[in-house]
Amino acid sequence: MEMGRDLALLAPELTLAAAAMLMIVAEMFRAARLVLAIGLAGLAAATLLTLPMLSVDATVFGGTYRIDLISGWAKLILLPGTALSLLLVRAEITGRPREGSVQSLVVLVTLGALMLSGAGDMMVVVIGVVLTGLGSFALVAWPRDDAATEAAMKYLVFGAVTGSVMIYGLTFWFGGTGSTLFSELGQLQGQTLVTIAGLIAIIVGLGYKGSLVPFHFWAPDAYQGAPVSIAAYLSVITKAAAFFAFAQVLRDLPRDGGWPLALAVIAAATMTYGYLAALVQTNLVRLIAYSSVAQSGYFLMGVVALGASGFAVPGILVFAAAYVAMNLGAFAVVLLAGRDLGDLEGFGRTRPWLGAAMVVFLLSLTGIPPLFGFVGKFYLLSAAVEAGYLWLAIIGVLNSVLALGVYLRLMVPMYRTSSTEHPSEVGAVLTQGTVVVTVLATLLIGLAAGILPGP
Amino acid sequence: MSIAVIILALAIGCYAVAVLEGWAVHGRLSLTRPATSALALLGREQILPRTSDRLFFEAGPVLLLVAGLLSVAVIPLAPGLIITDLAIGALFLNAALAYVLVALIMAGWGPNGAYGMIGGWRFLGQFVAYAMLIVMPITAVAMRAESLSTTQIVLSQAALWNVAYQPIGFVLFVIAAMGVAWLPPIDLPTGGGDLAGGVEAEYTGARLAVLRLARLVIIVALASATVTFYLGGWLGPWLPGWAWTALKTLGVAAAMLMLGPRLPRLREAKYLELSWKLGITLALANIFLVGVIALVVPI
């Protein structure tokens, strides 16, 4: 039966949704540990359920939702990433009011992220954007102090405006094709104006989610105002999901609309601006925020090459996996070290292992082989070159130098002698566990890159 | 043709309700009283309060009247005797009633008076309380009728009136309807005792007359909606259809009017709490029950 097949294919998503519901129930009884346990169990179960489905290429519910390479790997990337984020959240806000609510929201936002990465239909994209967006606003606002509400307010205003602009633009695609399915976008061939309207919409809406220049303004503020663990979560999960959605939407669009070039320009601007801005930051969270803006530019190189290079989709997936691991890890270290650049002073000497882990994350973010980040960047650069965007690849490569400048600003003080105390904090075990997992992923998956999808 | 008939019926109904209300409030049954007080209102001097928002002040009563009339427009008096038999009649009724809130807020805000303002905001709270209890029972009714057309809804009750089929929904709907028409004990916006008339406080003369007329129309509309949704509409033996509708409507209106003054007034917070904690739970249960029954018993 059609319905049964659809539901079976959706098993990971349904599991996650059920877990989220149970988490909310547990939160009603203020059982924060139970909430966490349910969340982790649900994420683990959903991940396991995804494994046998990696080779499936199908759609469910009339083509509106895709179970394919992208959504399969997206689950493998986002679900463990979320699990690690839950640990960080737990470590940071144990015992504070509504801890369980935060945990549940995190899982719900991930559900939205999964919808984005499997979207085969405008409606699913809209729902995904809204689900990730609204949950994120609430997460950012959670501490309810001045900084958090300000961050949430900015995040919300940007999100609401870009989201609604996206919906408005998408209506033109519906007008042009007579269908809300992305698989019908081929019919736009020749309808230049309509194509452009929808494209601008998608770039605005998903570009905001992926914090591309010039829609990135919210990112540093939101990350700075939110709890560090939430910033870590948002910087990886919703961003990766945005690029999965880009891949899902644009891979069916005819390449003749000039959009690859437009996106290439945005990509170049994003990475350059992100690193330049990161160079002058003194707040550690803001610095990583800007650096993650720059990383978005690399993601976009894969998007630019969609349909023109076999490396495009694997590139986005591999880089996303790497990015989730290394950025989460870097944020976990920040959680232990402190939010200010000065807090890193001497950190590598007083906490040698954590310092070494941070170095690994930062080198991986720079793209130094054989770390995971390098593998991702390699795929993306290959995609850009193969798609004929050599200049973009060159800019990407040159920006690695800026990146190095940015990350050396963190690495160098870590090995300076200083008197800064680095007390071990509450929940440090969970955070350190996260660091261990992410650092292993960053180190080892780069070496065992054979398990990753190829072109 | 049917428009004229229904407007006429509505006018008679309004007058009858006015008489009933007089009876309920003053304890004296007087047939002329509404007419005289209407005339008196028209003859009285009209004061325009010092306000910079004249538009809201003027538009409030009119919008209220329009909302009432539009909701009546989708209620069938008898088979074929309906102003517009919309396919989405029940939804339209709901939508029209939503403007009651807008109109009352405008009327409360417009005159720049504290009592009116508080009355308007209170009604907003009241709206938040009753709105779901209008929508959810109607959904259950539509499930049985397989249509949102009010005519279809009446026809679906041929075998058994909805009042017996889904009694929970009926009770909830009536209570909510009393909220919509701010009938006692849920008359917060005009709250006799403490607000000096609330939203009505600044209205005088003809404007007050329009405001009161609009309220009568709304009461009739809600009573007839209750009849349509739960009491089988025009269905009934011996008498012609329109007569049944009229009788039932008056009966419901009388019940609503008589019931209210005998109960203690409900604070808005209490009303909110009751309708969300108890009301919505029951309404959801009602939908579920109707769903199960509709699958099991094909009537």
Partner: protein
């Protein structure tokens, strides 16, 4: 009657209502006008004119409900189409909407447990 006609009638009804009100006002004016007196137009606030407009902030103590209401009311929009085809679809529809309503209800319970249904 086509749908367009139906809505035309409703529009006519609206305009007619406005006309009725205007003619009532005209009638009232015809019956007689009162002489203007100073300070008669003061709003009913114990006979004095408030120094500032009374359009001040009103503490909407029910905003917790209001936010929940926004969500709930919108979800009901999904229920109307479902209700209409409910009997055709049968058990599947019951299950679909059962899940939907269960989640909705869960939301209510959650809000309740977090104190959203409390006088703020």
């Amino acid at each position: 009657m086509s749908e367009l006609t139906q809505y035309a009638i409703l529009l006519g009804l609206t305009l007619g209502t406005v006309g009725l009100v205007l003619s009532l006002y005209a009638l009232a004016r015809a019956i007689g006008r009162a002489r203007a007196e100073p300070a008669k137009d003061v709003p009913a606030t114990a006979g004095t004119l408030a120094r500032d407009p009374v359009w001040v902030r009103y503490h909407a103590k029910y905003y917790g409900y209001a936010l929940l209401f926004l969500a709930f009311d919108m979800e009901m929009a999904f229920m109307y189409p479902w209700a209409v085809v409910y009997r055709e679809e049968g058990l599947v529809a019951l299950l679909d909407m059962g899940v939907f309503l269960a989640i909705l209800f869960l939301g209510l319970l959650y809000g309740w447990s977090q104190g959203a249904l409390r006088r703020q």
